[in-house]
Amino acid sequence: MLKRTDRHILAGLGILLGLLLAGCGGPSSSWPGIQVGDSTLYVADIDRVLAVEAASGQERWRFPPQNGAAGPCQGVFHATPAVADGVVVVAAENPGTGESRLCGLDRDAGALRWTYPPADQPPLGPVFAGLVTDGGRVFVGTGDGFVLAIHPATGQALWRTRLPEAGRGAPRIWATPVLSDTLLLVGTMDHRVLALDAATGTLAWPAPFQARGAIAGALALDGEALYVGAFDDHLYALDPATGRERWRFKAGHWVWDGPAVAGDRLIVGDMSGQVFALDREGRPVWPRPFQANGPVRARPLVVADRVYVADEAGWLHLLNLADGAKLKSVNLAPGRLLTPLVAVADRVVVVPTGGPFRLVAYHSDLREAWKLAR
């Protein structure tokens, strides 16, 4: 039994509850994406797309421009951009609905050239997977199970394929696909890897490869094998021509991104923070895995005889490729390091998620080269 005053208290609590529940959503659904082209970094950094000189950290352009409007290309940017035919292709997500449009930006000036689909047509599903290109086409996987090939200069769709379902609703594509000769290899959250003919979008393998866990991260290819990380704690090596499994390696937790491939070594991290070095048969080669300070979501980076590992706690580690020994670590917390590292112009570039800096570049020994403040 509630008296009038109690009911007023409850009404107040109800309003508080509404505010608490309404505030449950986070600011961003994914982390920034970064692409390198001609010593320039193209960064889809949530609220803007940036073109930055890799050597100096100088901003060349941004989209939307300062005091300028985004036009039909509105939203947040996180999928790794693709650079082809003088155009930087990015995905703009409407944070309210999760729907996305692709936008073609002029590579030199950042001006908007086209959007796909055009503003008068329904948008695509969410685009979390990185965009990939073979120079003449840009390939996109969407969160509602579509794969598209787009002409980068015009923004026209060359083909559009809906992946078949496997009993879990529309297959979500979050994993950045990879090109192997004439095939586009696509991993899905419903535990599968499928191959599409890159020219037509038709299914190429007789049957998809089936893992036991979701495939969310970028696939990796070294010419001999396709490497796929999964949420069933395994790294799989597949025959890229047929999809047949060659071997699998059991990690300590989910394997999100595929490995970095360096000569005869594969370097892969897992969500428990362990980093493993494997040979081409999936056998560990370091005496023990390296233990980072947080989950390792992003693919490590190998440059010469050094391995760079970014963890979610904001640490960047430098390891010796031969034995996994730690040489140095730097901390970028409160930024979280979820985006794969890139190497360009003798720099290793980090894109923190959150924290005071948009980009931080290091020399090969992790001495800081430049920073771009948020």
């Binding site: 039994m1 509630l2 008296k3 009038r4 109690d6 009911r7 208290i9 409850l10 009404a11 609590l13 109800g14 309003i15 509850l17 509404g18 608490l20 529940l21 309404a22 449950c24 986070g26 961003s28 659904s29 994914s30 982390w31 609905t97 999760g98 969410p126 979390f128 879990r168 609703g169 529309a170 979500r172 979050w174 959250m189 419903d190 036991r212 866990g213 979701a214 969310a216 949420f231 069933d232 704690d233 300590g252 937790h253 989910w254 969500m271 989950p295 979501r297 979610e312 979820l338």
Partner: protein, 298 residues
């Protein structure tokens, strides 16, 4: 992570997330059934508290005639009225605030359930990063993680997103918030059924306002947040009503008044029942509304 969040996660939120995943597996990978099962479990856990609330409500109903008398007697002296009312509550062993506790406990549970639904559905990569830290592992094997991704689509609805269904009418898209309307309807119903009778016109007006305001408020929350939460609200409301009916053994009270009104005795009946279907006025729960409800039997 601060220590309070850490402890809350470990003791409460993380078990809830994993329970939801287990229920999802047990319900044949049907997430809406998993939410229903979770709601039923939560209501079962809260049953002792809810029963206490209903006992208090019943006792308050029994006190209504005496409260009305006090109202008549001391209506002009509010201080004295409050004193006498408290005295009466004390004599009858009723805590007038006893009904608040179960309602207050429901707020953190509601927030935790909503967070659990959103986290388990993990509709974007950042949400999956968070989820990876919450899922239990058994002997180092990610058994529950292999359930991901959760199938969030149910008929017209994506359970992890706000309800946005539109129907074209004359070239204009009109929103059709079915789940939101069900939340409003069931909230209104449970409020209506369980609202105790008012003792004075002011309280009656407040009750009427609350019976209007609360359904609209929960409807507003439902329209703006994930549909999974609407499912929780609807099931909670229905269970509340069923619990109330079982506790009072009065199914007629759940019906609209025009349906629940007792039929007039047949004119040809040779021996009309001695007692009216309604209780004598003095023991009937006073409800100064337009139409008097049929009183409960026994």
């Amino acid at each position: 992570m601060n220590p309070i969040t850490l402890v809350t996660n470990l003791l409460f939120f993380q078990p809830l997330v994993n329970l939801l995943l287990v229920l999802y597996a047990a319900m044949g990978r049907n997430f809406i059934l998993a939410i229903v099962a979770l709601t039923v479990l939560i209501r079962l856990l809260l049953y002792p508290l809810m029963a206490q609330q209903q006992r208090t409500a019943r006792k308050m109903q029994e006190l209504q005639p005496r409260l009305q008398e006090l109202q008549k007697k001391y209506g002009k002296d509010r201080e004295r009225l409050a004193q006498e009312q408290m005295k009466l509550y004390k004599e009858a062993g009723v805590n007038p605030f006893g009904g608040c506790l179960p309602l207050l406990i429901q707020f953190p549970i509601l927030i935790a359930v909503y967070q659990a639904i959103i986290h388990v559905l993990a509709l974007n990569p950042m949400a999956v990063i968070d989820l990876s830290k919450l899922i239990y592992r058994f002997n180092g094997f990610p058994a529950l993680a292999t359930l991901l991704p959760i199938q969030s689509q149910f008929l017209l609805w994506d359970l992890g997103r706000p309800e946005r269904i539109f129907v074209p009418v004359g070239g204009i898209l009109i929103p059709l918030p079915i789940m939101t309307l069900l939340v409003i309807l069931t909230t209104w119903w449970s409020q209506k059924v369980m609202s105790p009778p008012a003792t004075d016109p002011q309280t009656q007006m407040t009750t009427q306002l609350m019976n209007l305001y609360m359904p609209l408020f929960f409807g507003w929350i439902s329209y703006n947040l994930a549909v999974g939460l609407s499912v929780y609200f609807i099931v909670t409301n229905l269970i509340s009503v069923i619990q109330f009916a079982l506790a009072t053994r009065d199914v007629r009270r759940l019906l609209p008044r025009w349906l629940a009104r007792p039929r007039p005795a047949a004119p040809a009946a040779p021996n009309p029942p001695a007692a009216s279907p309604a209780r004598p006025k003095k023991t009937e729960p006073a409800r100064p509304s337009k139409a008097r409800r049929p009183a409960k039997e026994g």
